[in-house]
């Protein structure tokens, strides 16, 4: 008996090793109530919202924060950290009432002092590089703390869309940062050990790999059903899908191509409520040296050559619709309702080219550049080149990246190698359509400079006293751009979607500009 026991004991280490090995090797083993999310990019990978202009960062650091106001999928404003907001009749002073039960992750209460600090010393500081920090710095004259939970923001000039501009949709500037904590530890430490008012508290971060959060159980707004949130960087789409299918993650950003296969396996999807504007830019159309695209008939021909319905049904798998303008979405202020996408008429396109003096077509370069998290840039470029070749326009696709391409289009005047050429682009429209107008279309702001004849209207939007006035002026400008065929809208595409399964019963996606992120706090435990 003793011998038998001794014999058995000899095998015990082997058995133990086997058990450990099986435990290690089992890919589906996971800690209960963890929400694991596989994301394609971490963006700038910083937790300091004043330093990130690229909102990809929201997938990475978004769970930390709340915004002063909230925009729903229809563009309606609702309370966030601010319970109410009121503008003076001249829209030069805004009074915000704050919630009184909001705490930062270190337990300190959020007060009006924090809002003042965020607007003046956060996004207002010279080092701030978020997309609208310059606008905030220039427009905000002063921030007064009226009482512990009331703040008055005094503007240099009328700012009727201020309440929209501090919402979750346009960017990071509506986040409230912890004054005392940042003053104590400094911005650099804050960037590594951040705290916020969001439903998830920072736990740890490994650059280029993973960021982990723990749920704030007594959050003022949400009751997260998961204890821990793990956001993992998985750049390859096929691997994200495999990890989802094998239960290694619960949510994954997936492409339109992967969606049908995952749907068959029973996975559900959360969609970006705000579509991405996929389009072709025509550069320098009003320059003397613009070449063929300087002529309206040529621009019209290039537009009529494209079968937008076909692209939506094939490349975009029906997850979108042909677009008439860009980059404004239906929830943008000033979205020109009722405009029909240009029809597909290659015969007419050929006639227009002949009429413009190019019966045998011409040559054009089409820069293929990945933007806005849109991954089908190369396929769209090839499809567009095909349509243009069919009407005789020889298209040379030039693959590039944003780092090499941006210096060309922001050059003043625009780089000669770009004038008269085209590029693909995809971004989400801003909540304030006038902002999109200024950035992409105006000549005076000299950023994209896609049109010359909308500057006065844009300038008027900057002096407008009401949201309606801004909306009317913006809409008018977009109609001019449309009738001038200034560039080539392709489609509004729900380019970003998330598949989920396993432990998740449902999830809501809030609209954000650019790269959106699921609102993890709304994830339901199955």
């Amino acid at each position: 008996m003793t011998k038998q026991i001794k014999g058995s004991i000899r095998f015990l280490p082997v058995v133990l090793l086997l058990i450990v090995a099986i435990g290690l090797i089992n890919p589906t083993s996971s800690v209960a109530k963890n929400l694991r999310y596989a994301v394609q990019s971490f963006g700038a990978e910083t937790f300091d919202p004043t330093l990130t202009s690229v909102t990809t960062g929201l997938g990475f650091a978004g769970p930390l924060w709340d915004w002063l106001t909230t925009v729903d999928v229809k563009g309606n404003l609702s309370p966030g950290l601010a319970t109410s907001w009121k503008s003076s009749p001249d829209a030069k002073t805004w009074t915000l009432k704050l919630r009184q039960d909001v705490k930062f992750h270190d337990g300190s209460p959020m007060t009006a002092e924090d809002v003042k600090f965020t607007l003046q010393d956060g996004f207002g500081r010279k080092k701030a590089k978020s997309s609208r920090s310059k606008q905030f710095r220039k427009k905000i004259k002063d921030v007064e703390v009226v009482d512990r939970y009331t703040v008055k923001v005094i503007m240099q000039k009328a700012w009727p869309t201020f309440a929209h501009d501090v919402s979750n949709q346009p960017g990071t500037e509506g986040i409230v940062l912890p004054k005392k904590y940042i003053e104590k530890v400094g911005w650099q430490v804050y960037g590594r050990n951040p705290i916020g008012t969001g439903a998830f508290k920072f736990l740890r971060h490994e650059t280029g790999n993973i960021v982990e959060y723990t749920a704030v159980k007594d959050h003022w707004r949400y009751k997260p059903q998961f204890d821990k949130l793990q956001v993992m960087l998985v750049p390859e789409a096929a691997t994200r899908v495999a990890m989802l299918r094998t239960g290694q993650v619960d949510i994954a950003g997936v492409s339109l191509d992967d969606a049908p296969g995952l749907a068959k396996k029973g996975f559900k999807f959360a969609r970006d409520p705000q579509a991405s504007s996929v389009r072709i830019h025509l550069y320098g159309t009003y320059y003397k040296k613009a070449g063929p695209i300087g002529k309206l008939d040529v621009r019209k021909a290039l537009n009529l050559a494209i079968n937008r319905d076909e692209l939506v049904q094939t490349l975009f798998r029906g997850a979108g619709k042909p677009a008439a303008v860009f980059p404004v979405s239906e929830l943008s202020i000033g979205y020109p309702k009722g405009l029909k996408p240009y029809p597909f008429d290659p015969a007419e396109a050929r006639k227009l080219l002949a009429k413009a003096g190019y019966p045998n077509g011409f040559k054009i370069k089409l820069f293929s550049v990945p933007t806005g998290g849109f991954t089908l840039h190369q396929q769209v470029s090839e499809a567009v080149a095909g349509y243009w070749e069919a009407i005789g326009v020889k298209t040379d696709i030039v693959p590039t990246d944003i780092g090499a391409f941006r210096p060309l289009y922001i050059k003043r005047p625009q780089a000669p190698q770009l004038v008269g050429q085209a590029s693909i682009f995809a971004t989400t429209g801003r909540l304030n359509g006038a902002s999109s107008l200024g950035i992409w279309w105006t000549k005076s702001r000299k950023i994209l400079q896609l049109a010359e004849n909308v500057d006065d209207l844009y300038a008027a939007t900057q002096k407008a006293g009401t949201v309606k006035e801004i909306a009317d002026l913006t809409e008018k400008a977009f109609r001019i751009i449309y009738s001038d065929y200034r560039s080539i809208p392709i489609a509004d595409v729900a380019g970003i979607l998330w598949a989920y399964g396993n432990q998740v019963g449902g999830i809501t996606v809030a609209p954000h500009r650019g790269y959106v992120t699921p609102s993890f706090a709304t994830a339901v435990l199955k």
């Binding site: 290690l24 090797i25 089992n26 890919p27 589906t28 596989a38 700038a44 990978e45 910083t46 300091d48 330093l51 202009s53 690229v54 010279k126 080092k127 590089k129 978020s130 997309s131 609208r132 310059k134 650099q188 960037g191 590594r192 490994e206 650059t207 280029g208 790999n209 993992m232 960087l233 998985v234 750049p235 390859e236 096929a238 691997t239 495999a242 990890m243 299918r245 094998t246 290694q248 990246d401 944003i402 780092g403 090499a404 941006r406 210096p407 922001i410 200024g438 950035i439 702001r445 950023i447 994209l448």
Partner: protein, 307 residues
Amino acid sequence: MQRFIAGRLVQTIVTLFVISALVFGLVRLTGSPIDVMLPIEASPEMRADLTRELGLDQPLYVQYFVFVQKLAQADLGMSIRTKKPVTELLMQRLPNSLQLVGISMLISLLIAFPLGVIAATLRGGIWDALARGVALFGQSIPTFWAGIVLIYIFAIQLGLLPAGRQGTFANLILPALTLGLFGFMLAGVVRLLRDSMIEVLDSEFVKFARIKGVSETIVVWKHALKNALIPVVTFVGFYFGILISGTVVVETVFAWPGIGRLAYEAVQWRDYPVIQGVVLLVSAITLLTNLVVDILYGYLDPRIRYG
């Protein structure tokens, strides 16, 4: 020997210095981080501010002088993108790369050695054809595709292994297999070893050993193999350095946080300090590996003397 090592170390430092100058200049030709980091609507003032903040407004020679000055203190600067010290980022990633490359090399060598020797000893036969076929197959299949196929089989269909990411040892198996079987290491070693062995097996000392009645196993596995290893060791040493930063495809497919992906991300963001750091680290590893290889020559062939 000591003089040889000291001399090679000095050579290594000089080479690193030249590489640092080259990479410093070349990386700046590919574009500026200002264009990637700032929002599209950034004003010229914002661009100027950031340029100043990053020290990119200084003449190139001043920037290089500052870089070298910091380098002398083992400070590779701060990442422009993540605002973290480059050394910290490299030290976080290097063990992951070493782990992946180490295991994949082990897999390659464990398969390549028997295959190479068998192919040489049974040259012209079916085993030779098979060994060369395995080498050709491994070389012909792109690692990207092989990785996806392995994920499909072992993670999705069989559910035996995780599809990606770092974690337990199980997470390392598929990326290491992909790199070990479908990288160039396996194919390269099989071919080199086969050719080198054929040459050595035809040499006089091997014939002499056989005449003396030494068993064929000892002749092949002890005398011939040791002498045939020199080109293989050179190749493996050289390839090790390449693999440390050259596994970006496998690292991307398996979401493995190694040096390759760090370099790739840094290039995308024009994160100069990180690119410089990665290049210097990989160069240093390659140069030091070559030094180790040179020292190994002496062991493998005692006729080699170090002047």
